[in-house]
Assembly symmetry: C2
Homo-oligomer: 216 residues x 2
Amino acid sequence: MSDNSIPKIVISRLPVYLRALSRMINKGQLVTSSHELGKALGISSAQIRKDLSHFGEFGKQGTGYQVEFLITQLSQILNLDREWEVAVIGSGDIGHAITRYQGFADRGFRVSVIFDSDPQKVGSYINGLEVMHASQIVKVLRERNIQIAMLAIPAEYAQKVTDTVVDAGVRAILSYAPISLNVPDHVRVSYIDPVTHLQSMTYYLSTEQDLMSQPL
Amino acid sequence: MSDNSIPKIVISRLPVYLRALSRMINKGQLVTSSHELGKALGISSAQIRKDLSHFGEFGKQGTGYQVEFLITQLSQILNLDREWEVAVIGSGDIGHAITRYQGFADRGFRVSVIFDSDPQKVGSYINGLEVMHASQIVKVLRERNIQIAMLAIPAEYAQKVTDTVVDAGVRAILSYAPISLNVPDHVRVSYIDPVTHLQSMTYYLSTEQDLMSQPL
DNA sequence: GGATGTGAATCCGTTCACAGCT
DNA sequence: AGCTGTGAACGGATTCACATCC
């Protein structure tokens, strides 16, 4: 049943479903079930059915889900039935890796412009893309109506650059800088900070184990 | 009050608190409050107090929290009062960026070994670290008793490599491969997939806005 | 006065379990 | 028989609001 306001956490799982479904299609699998999908993802089948039920009735009782149909539906829901242009800010190691990462293009995103403030880097090419000077951000993003930016810059510049890209019309930011950003309500932010992931995992790594497993 | 089993979601917020507190210390700030911290992070003050209360009473009524003291406490809780060695598997763009990323060393993690299966890359140096052949994974990780691995490899190899590092004694995995991994119960996994972040943000980017903001 | 720590209340998300369809 | 879709039950997390202490 199509609901009014869908929980953020549900939305965040849809791309994960999509990822798994894509793998199935690539393997030639045509049909799946909430059970199978759940097992592959470590999620309960009830949750998957409930999540999908927010948007419609995509399955057939007794049968399951047509993989391709479900992919189409999820893609539409997530506005992925188009290509999104993305700007990368920062051409250091991370910006470099992002710009060359094939995974974006494969899944609906095109890095179409990259900026840096270092004159040494401006004018160089990454993945066939010329690095532009940061002073051009507002002009270029507005011209091309780019709404997504990825920040691959040090924490100390992150808020200022955020303000700039927001001013340029960006409405979604994926930041690799390890700092919480302030943005207006109409802008979404996601963070990628590998260290926070590691730091929460070490909570569960009791030091004792260290002593047990000796070098052989 | 120190509780028995602390919710995962609480643990996952502690590194974020730590990040913010570190910035405060760097700015010379000695004292903060749940209010201030919450505002900086976009979290309610009650939540911060409740989270911390799982582990002890770290604040002073009427005053707030000593920043440095709180950092010390959180670091201990998360087992960060030591250095953790990390193995990177895969020396492509992502592995390269990870290995050179200063943020790990600054926050308690040392990338101390890197592997690749491509003979072309084995023997080359990244950040002063020689790339070793993947066939050495089990031997080296066991010898050095390394318990954390970061996977920077294509999805199709991810499960096999996961099995290998688990066999080698790894108990925490941070994977950059866009696929859900199967691991035994005693192993923790976190995922970094920028595309899933982008894909959930585009849900909120209605296409209409496109038409409004014309190129000028 | 001001900020913590915490039971109580509320809100939200997950799981249960089953009716209903194929 | 098998699997979906879903109200109901459950469990957990967040917020409230206040007693408590500096």
